[in-house]
């Protein structure tokens, strides 16, 4: 049903909702085993009795989303010591997660209420998590600046984040370079550019809409479209 790739490992979730992993990483989810040549079922996830519908993987960690919309995480965002078997993400407990995405050391999740959560770390000054600072965020935290937007799709890299609202408007924050927002729109020294002296030539701290662009998103916010659990 889906695949995800970490730095040296691969995750796959089958149509039946079972998660497999293989490769060479501490984020395989098999406990002590850090190397699997063939896909191996992640027992800790199987023991939860839940069906899994999506997987995502960063460099050294992995995420699995259950049909009941609980999120499990294992490995380490910082490549330090992290759980070697899947753990329920308590910061998102009770919040229905619909979409999850991870790349490098950053992750984002979209909930059934249209909220965007981000966590991880990236370039020291990239502000790409959208929390108003450039600090590491090791547990999911809601992007408050997008509280007025019903988020229906999102993507994150280690330098910037894109999020699309139900109306199709794309919001971006993080490095200007990757967003394609040049000096013409906001010259360095702009009030939002708190680190304009940085060689990366500025970041977008507060989410701003990308001009002249609308994307097609699923009607996640509309009543009745999202099935009940």
């Amino acid at each position: 049903m889906g695949v995800a790739l970490g730095l040296d490992f691969t995750l796959a979730v089958t149509d039946a909702g079972v998660v497999f992993s293989f490769g060479s990483s501490r984020a395989l989810g098999h406990g002590l085993s850090t190397s699997e040549v063939l896909p191996r079922r992640i027992e800790a996830l199987a023991e939860t009795g839940r069906r899994f519908v999506a997987v995502a993987a960063g460099n050294y960690y992995a995420l699995a989303l259950a049909e009941e919309r609980h999120l499990y995480e294992w490995g380490s965002i910082t490549n330090g010591h992290g759980p070697s078997t899947p753990q329920l993400v308590t910061a998102l407990a009770g919040i229905g997660v619909l979409l999850v995405y991870a790349q490098d050391c950053s992750s984002c999740a979209v909930t059934e209420n249209g909220e965007l959560y981000t966590w991880g770390w990236g370039y020291p000054t990239s502000f790409h998590l959208g929390h108003g600072d450039a600090a590491r965020q090791l547990t999911p935290k809601r992007v408050e600046a997008l509280s007025g937007v019903k988020v229906a799709a999102a993507s994150i890299s280690h330098s910037h984040t894109l999020a699309a609202g139900a109306d199709g408007v794309v919001w971006g924050f993080g490095q200007r370079a990757a967003l394609g927002l040049g000096e013409a729109d906001a010259p360095p020294g702009d009030s939002e550019d708190e680190d304009s002296e940085d060689e990366d030539a500025g970041c977008v701290v507060q989410p701003i809409p990308i001009p002249n662009l609308r994307v097609r998103t699923l009607p996640l916010a509309s009543e009745g479209w999202v099935p009940s659990i």
């Binding site: 910037h160 927002l181 099935p227």
Partner: protein, 294 residues
């Protein structure tokens, strides 16, 4: 019954639409109130073959509503007045889809919230969710698919230099006369993909993928690394021809991408499955490549 009144009304509305298509004078001239018996009577005049074709075009949600309504109608009718095939056409269609999804169904249909119809509806929802990828954030570039299914690229100008990620998409001299004064390329419609309907995008550090509605994968990649090898069936704009992925049928296909690895797969049946009975989803790993130097 696992369906709300609202859904039952929706089912009735669908039946009404079918009625309008195959209107019969006798039915039209009768009372304005639509009774259950009339609806059933109407269904009986539509040739089963045509009904089957119509049913294949309906979404699972509509089908489920129709299934619920039909059963309600059967309950209401004093006697089953019609020679409907057993099992019914709706049930047959639902069973076909369940089997296409690899789901075994018992001889009798379970009811309620945990019934396989509900399961199929959920399944369709998650399929749609999984397929949606209108945004991709990469290293120094962003890909977006707009309302018209066209591909937009925004990036640092360095990314469209010769040999960089954006170069195969925009060309290294893109905007050299107009916008060269800016360091950044604003969101730009990718000219070479202008007539291609894009459904999904993915991005990594050194490459990006775009999936078209007919199953073609287009890739922008750095040429200085091993990533430049073109995977089978994929095309790089301006370099070599294009090829459809799996025959003429639009095959849902998704690209997953990571920092150093790339994997593209052709996967399971679409939201409205059109696979043959008994066939299973196919995972075709087209390429796994590793950057030569990091």
């Amino acid at each position: 019954m696992g369906f709300s009144d609202e859904e039952a009304v929706e089912g009735l509305a669908i039946t009404e639409e079918l009625r309008a298509v195959f209107q019969r004078p006798a039915a039209a001239s009768s009372t304005t109130a639509v009774t259950a018996a009339q609806s059933l009577e109407f269904l009986s005049v539509v040739p089963p073959e045509i009904l089957s074709i119509i049913l294949t075009q309906l979404g699972i949600r509509d089908l489920a509503c129709l299934a619920a309504t039909c059963r309600l109608l059967w309950c209401d009718a004093p006697t089953p007045p019609l020679a409907l095939p057993t099992p019914g056409l709706v049930e047959t269609e639902l069973r076909r889809r369940a089997e296409a999804s690899g789901l075994h169904i018992g001889a009798s249909l379970p009811e309620g919230a945990l019934s396989w119809v509900t399961y199929l509806m959920k399944r369709e929802f998650y399929d749609a969710l999984r397929r949606q990828a209108p945004l991709a954030a990469g290293y120094r570039h962003s890909l977006c698919v707009d309302m018209g299914s066209r591909l937009h690229l925004a990036c640092h100008r360095e990314e469209i230099k010769a040999g960089e990620v954006g170069e195969p998409l925009l060309g290294h001299d893109w905007g050299s006369d107009a916008g060269a004064s800016t360091v950044f390329v604003p969101p730009t419609l990718v000219p070479s993909m202008h007539d291609t309907r894009i459904v999904s995008v993915a991005s990594g550090d050194c490459h990006c993928l775009a999936l078209s509605a007919v199953g073609e994968v287009t890739r922008g990649a750095k040429t200085v690394t091993a990533c430049s090898t073109t995977p089978t069936g994929a095309r790089t704009p301006g370099r070599g021809g294009s090829r459809r992925w799996r025959g003429s049928r639009a095959s849902p296909l998704e690209g997953a991408i990571a920092r150093r690895w790339t994997i593209a797969d052709a996967s399971s049946p679409g939201v409205v499955p059109r696979v043959k009975r008994g066939s299973r989803p196919v995972w075709a790993m087209s390429s796994i490549q590793r950057r030569s130097a990091s």
